[in-house]
Symmetry: D2
Subunit: 337 residues, 4 copies
Amino acid sequence: MIIVVRPDATEEQINHIIKKIKDHGLQAHVSKGTERTIIGAIGDEAILQSLPLEAIPGVEKVLPILKPFKLASLEFRKEKTIINVCGQQIGGKRIAVMAGPCAVENKTLLFEIAQEVKKAGANFVRGGAFKPRTSPYAFQGLEEEGLKYLAEARERTGLPIVTEVMDPRDIDLIAKYADVLQIGARNMQNFRLLKEVGLCKKPILLKRGISATIKEWLMSAEYIMSGGNHNVILCERGIRTYETATRNTLDLSAVPVLKQMTHLPVIVDPSHAVGKWDLVAPMAKAAIAAGADGLIIEVHSNPEEALCDGEQSLKPRSFKQLMEEMKPIAAAVGREI
Amino acid sequence: MIIVVRPDATEEQINHIIKKIKDHGLQAHVSKGTERTIIGAIGDEAILQSLPLEAIPGVEKVLPILKPFKLASLEFRKEKTIINVCGQQIGGKRIAVMAGPCAVENKTLLFEIAQEVKKAGANFVRGGAFKPRTSPYAFQGLEEEGLKYLAEARERTGLPIVTEVMDPRDIDLIAKYADVLQIGARNMQNFRLLKEVGLCKKPILLKRGISATIKEWLMSAEYIMSGGNHNVILCERGIRTYETATRNTLDLSAVPVLKQMTHLPVIVDPSHAVGKWDLVAPMAKAAIAAGADGLIIEVHSNPEEALCDGEQSLKPRSFKQLMEEMKPIAAAVGREI
Amino acid sequence: MIIVVRPDATEEQINHIIKKIKDHGLQAHVSKGTERTIIGAIGDEAILQSLPLEAIPGVEKVLPILKPFKLASLEFRKEKTIINVCGQQIGGKRIAVMAGPCAVENKTLLFEIAQEVKKAGANFVRGGAFKPRTSPYAFQGLEEEGLKYLAEARERTGLPIVTEVMDPRDIDLIAKYADVLQIGARNMQNFRLLKEVGLCKKPILLKRGISATIKEWLMSAEYIMSGGNHNVILCERGIRTYETATRNTLDLSAVPVLKQMTHLPVIVDPSHAVGKWDLVAPMAKAAIAAGADGLIIEVHSNPEEALCDGEQSLKPRSFKQLMEEMKPIAAAVGREI
Amino acid sequence: MIIVVRPDATEEQINHIIKKIKDHGLQAHVSKGTERTIIGAIGDEAILQSLPLEAIPGVEKVLPILKPFKLASLEFRKEKTIINVCGQQIGGKRIAVMAGPCAVENKTLLFEIAQEVKKAGANFVRGGAFKPRTSPYAFQGLEEEGLKYLAEARERTGLPIVTEVMDPRDIDLIAKYADVLQIGARNMQNFRLLKEVGLCKKPILLKRGISATIKEWLMSAEYIMSGGNHNVILCERGIRTYETATRNTLDLSAVPVLKQMTHLPVIVDPSHAVGKWDLVAPMAKAAIAAGADGLIIEVHSNPEEALCDGEQSLKPRSFKQLMEEMKPIAAAVGREI
């Protein structure tokens, strides 16, 4: 860590900073430049990162050298993590495609959609049983009943199930039925929830918060991993910007940035990012070209009657076409679909 | 609700849109303009707000007329809500000032700070026992022990206590000790938590999410109110923007905007917004001038040793000075401190 | 245009709004709903868009129905615009690839890079002679001397030249040497400059402003087109968000959004968007997959000595490899490279 | 400047970095920590700031120690700059209040408004003769005729005139009539314009770009100052965020931040920031409380007929009332109005 000293700092203030560093077991290395004095703290930077060094008189700014996450970093683990779920892989050569309705609405519809996405080549079925909704007056999900339908959909299709968990009290219940637990964007910094899914045995799909930096997102993965669960899948789903032409702004550059920072697999959710079904296909293709390990896409047989997010859902036919169109793109980047 | 029809929509598509509106019990009013046909849906707009009308072929865009929240709106309740907590008011003539350390670190320190802020004129003591921290390796709070110290600080000072709740399972415990329960920015859309504090009898201080619109924030208040708890205090604490000179960007215009939309009291947290202690005083003054009903300010006797947010904490002496300096500003806007 | 009336508006205020609409030659259509009265203004909406209707007492909000741009819209021209420049096309089947150094630094270097990018398959040479720099102390470009080198590079390679214009007074000079004039992101709303390039005969490459909405961007294209120059190429180059891991956030969804709004060709500048050379290739591929009509990429033989933007420049060898890797992706979306 | 070396950098790469630093006349100081090697470059950092050090193999990141601006910095000049304009001051004890219509529309209206704002206590008259408009079809200003009216308004009121310059070719003309030249938000990085107003003798009011960081804004001030014109007034006018309840988000914390970074006076434009007349007064008061040196406020006698920005203009009566209400707030922060 580098501490830049204010030009008007007194000798006494500088000595106080040095003492503080040494008191925490690190070495202090002072370097007087032409315009500023800087102090390098040598040793375990993690100790200093939790101290409010900027509150010390005479400090102008503090420049950390190391990243604040460890288990999630490429330095901790050099090979890419590949997560195996009931015979399917996430992070391997084959692109993981998770598809299904935003919410589980009823049995028939779910089974129909599940069959369709399987036929089109998806390797996971997604569907929400517990739904985070902006309005308290909107449909909140079928809860355990929905989980049962999802489990039955797995029986019928052989595909593993991805579903969201919103409350630490539901983890055991959901883990009983589902294969991958999703943490939604709004809960990316629900630290209690992160800690507890860290104790769970199922892989966790961690969506990026709507205004989370990539660093904060990796810190949230670190929360889960520090509990012992290293099977974390990162999911970019659009960030909030000033632009209103799309629901959010899909930050596809997060994919190659993450590949330089972490060994965890990275997938993309184009549906929530754009918020309009006719923009999903180009962004799904772009995600594959950018190097994503997978996609999560909303599919509904009758979008205009969907209880949730109908405007961004593909019909099965469009989804099937997209799957076909993505094949040569996957091949072009050394993957398959 | 107004539905704008695409210029290339067929007669059949238009009839389908009209049918859909009527099927939900509303009237459809068609108006053909020179360049666009628009359809007005007359009746209970709330029914339509939950439908994915943009998924219907032929629809160009959907323009809602009404706000999606009710209980929180000025139309529902015309007089300003004043919340009474153990003899103190929030939303009344006197500015509510909540002050104290970011986290409860130990008994002695808390009592010392509580006494100091009381002497300076604060009317609430704040302090965190359960702390949401970006890093899993950082101090996470003293939990129940911290709550006990807070309750004891109330005994000693006579001031009500404000503290954060992060997990639905802690609500009963925290409500036993505290007078106002705070929902932090990261949990503004933790809907399960909102629902359950809606069943609680204690007032809820609801911080604005770091990238929440004012509408979404009021929808979160609506979640709490729809559970029966109408004592919600809104707290602006800075939003995330591209500017890095401050920790967040304090959106003070939210104060007068909210005064035009809701009857709920609005307070401001300058400490988290700016993130640097020497910027707190000007922004606290500005908040009062903009019409805020209160402030929540971090105060610590020894910021450079604070376990949390030391760089943004005022020392008791600076806090006392600020309280003095705000008096004429409060008077200038018809309030007192 | 729809005018939503405040619930507390008086009959007199409503009549005043109606009168105002009629005074401007439009018809007013009043519709009283259960909770709000709305007034539809039927006729030429452009007239109303310039009026401050929200300043009229009793008006709650104004909802425009039509887009504010015309010449740039798909409704004005249904077929895609293809721009021909010295035998090269922008907007046709073949992807337009513009490559070269950020700034023209000297003759030898420019010629060397121009030859390299030509060999790799680029169809335009880019290079700045007039440079907008954040610091007044940084290299500002070779000006006319640089233009002469660019023209000579065209002679040697046969490729058309793209270069930036920053000042209305330089248009004639630059148009004498260059084939495509670029308006940089910082000048996207330099309306004087837009007006004057609208009178120029050369195609204009209009970069998106760092915080411009897609609508504002199209309004800037409209400025140029309303002067008579319909050969406008839109260039997405990243927008400003809170994320600092990349220089800007590349908004690739702008590509399919624009395809639904305008007939103008859309290209992408991954270099300025990401700001780091090793992130350029994945985003260039993603841009093609998303449907972009072209790319503009910074290439430099010796990036660490570049006078401008070296950190985001590809070496010729990496550029060549990228060109090869993009071929199957272009083919997958029905294009060629 | 601190250069952090990648953990996998070779000895050869490190030596190359050191050589590069020495080649530019600085000293290189290498420090090997437990997890990273860092290299401090000691000497004139400005030399290095223009080099693409991140393009050098083996470099992980580059941390600048110094600010990139000089003339605008508090280190260059410790006392606050006070600008004198025809007997009025900006940056002195008295708050500078600039008021008037968005655009000069006609003689009578301008004179009427100018008289009203003078009576209310304003000390400058503002009004646009050259108007930057998002649409090419909107009113673009009266140009020289408008300037003449402004000059006549100065004769009648005795108040100095503030008006916008958009094009380097208009500087001489505008400087002939006006007392303060305004650079609008959209031209904050129109570097040609900045350079040329730097040669002008009149004070320059430099508005913050809609998405400019405070540092970039000061770099634009530096452009003007490096030309010899040190009379620059900074004007915060709202930044672009995701929030749509206001036109922009007024970043009032920029005021105290700037006071720690620069000697230049800082004023605030609440009208453009909020975009609605009934939000102007609270934000004007907040600006004074935050320490602003002045305000620029739009006033119009008949907002609903204004040719520009009527929805955000105060009527003379509201402006007068605001002026009265701000007096005790100004007094509370040691200023007068």
